[in-house]
């Protein structure tokens, strides 16, 4: 079971600026000079071993789109944020003679989670089959609306693929692309839904755009049950705890600390922080990751929890 992240940023896509790149290059070269890096082999070793991820690479800026490999001639993906554009390109490049089949699970239809679909090339391919699953009644309406005049030049009705919308119910498990998929209602403006994917004794949870009210033990227990013994939980850790309980309370997102606490209570193996704040640069996300790893160490019980921060292009083998 391989999870591949095509978009990991929350709310709105962002991109590095020229000055961001220049700062990374300057920092890296200065460090290389100090370390006496003077050959191609040393350059590669230096990049791999000496540079922080936030200098050598980037967390990326596409909005949510996460693929879960199926091992079959069909695709499974959570959300259609701007990362879906590159995901569609990958599908087209890999496609042979079989028709394209894509299963999409929608957490909700806020803009950052649907904006990639008009740029998702398989939607324009005759014979391609796209099934869009979700618990909201308004999913089809939202997809059609964003491709209506005057917002977009190509109307939804002109898409050539066979596109079907399938309604799911929270708590009711269904079989999709070989996975047992269970949706769960989450706290977010207009509601959102998390999904638990199970197959061959492994479990992956996709839980984004979800605020956790700490004063409600029953709600906490519900999420602990939803995350229970998962191999990977992809978790909305957009805010610091301070922001989540003060100025950004009721904005529908959660924090790194609550993610660690829920994962520890649920005996999760790997917590992957997701839906990064668009105002954060790479250094800030790296700093939040380092602090979260430290928080996990401070609060660890019998078993260590792996903590990571998702980046565009990241792959996790479960």
């Amino acid at each position: 079971m391989l999870v591949r992240f095509w978009g990991t940023r929350g709310s709105i896509p962002v991109a590095l600026t020229s000055s961001d790149i220049r700062r990374k290059v300057e920092t890296a070269l200065s460090m290389a000079i100090a370390k006496g890096v003077d050959s191609p082999d040393k350059v590669r070793s230096f990049i791999d071993n000496d540079l922080d991820f936030s200098i050598a690479q980037t967390y990326g800026g596409q909005s949510p789109c996460v693929e879960i490999e199926t091992g079959r001639a069909e695709y499974l993906v959570c959300d259609m944020g701007s990362g879906a554009r590159a995901f569609g390109g990958r599908i087209m490049a890999a496609q042979k003679s079989d028709p394209i089949v894509v299963n999409v699970l929608m957490s909700h239809v806020h803009w950052d989670h649907i904006m990639g679909f008009p740029f998702f090339t398989p939607a324009y391919v005759p014979g391609a089959r796209i099934r869009i699953f979700g618990c909201h009644d308004v999913i089809e309406k939202a997809f059609r609306l964003q491709q209506s005049a005057p917002c977009f030049p190509v109307d939804f009705s002109r898409l050539s693929a066979d596109i079907e919308f399938v309604k799911l119910e929270a708590g009711k498990t269904v079989d999709i692309a070989g996975y047992q998929v269970t949706p769960k209602l989450q706290r977010h403006t207009g509601d959102s839904y998390g999904y638990r994917f199970e197959r061959d004794g492994k479990a992956i949870v996709y839980s984004t755009d979800s605020e956790h009210k700490l004063e409600d033990p029953a709600e906490t227990e519900e999420f602990v049950a939803f995350f229970r013994n998962a191999d990977l939980v992809i978790f909305d850790a957009m805010y610091s705890l301070l922001d989540a309980v003060s100025v950004k309370e009721d904005w529908g997102h959660s924090s790194n600390m609550v993610g660690v606490e829920l994962a520890q209570l649920a005996n999760v193996k790997h917590l992957c922080m997701f839906h990064h704040e668009p105002a954060f640069n790479d250094e800030r996300i790296q700093s939040v990751l380092n602090e979260t790893i430290r928080f996990e160490q401070l609060t660890r019980g019998d078993r260590a929890l792996i903590v990571s921060a998702a980046f565009d292009g990241m792959e996790i083998e479960v």
């Binding site: 700490l214 906490t220 610091s240 301070l242 309980v245 928080f295 609060t299």
Partner: protein, 123 residues
């Protein structure tokens, strides 16, 4: 949850003990409320003495935030003192240091408020 408390001049020092986590945070909050009601501009300033607290979770920190909001709306002030190293790190990771003034000792916290309170504390 019982919270030890002692008044020095116009400063109230609250000294909770043990863990404050999701299991007991609401008890903690309920115990805190009567004290927060007294934390006003013309009444008592408050020091949360955390020397006896060995762990605090997000749910516990949320109680601090609610207390701070209420006290602030009443013109009161709450500061935090004497955190154990683990609690201090958690406090920093949570970014609560942006909201609360923190002090290494209760004495330093009281000194910030008034000479009279410090004198009473040292007596």
């Amino acid at each position: 949850m019982e919270i030890k408390n002692k008044t020095y001049g116009d400063v109230l020092v609250l000294s909770p003990e043990g863990r404050i986590d999701h299991a007991n945070s609401e008890d903690f909050r309920n115990s805190l409320v009567p004290f927060i009601d007294r934390c006003k501009s013309d009444c008592e300033r408050m020091v949360l003495d955390l020397a006896g607290v060995d762990y605090i979770s997000s749910a516990g920190l949320r109680c601090f935030m609610l207390a701070e909001k209420q006290a602030k709306s009443q013109g009161g002030t709450i500061v935090v003192a004497a955190m154990q190293p683990v609690v201090k790190e958690i406090f920093e990771i949570s970014r609560f240091t942006l909201v609360f003034d923190t002090f290494a000792t209760v004495r330093e916290a009281i000194a910030k408020f008034s000479p009279a309170a410090l004198k009473a504390y040292q007596a």
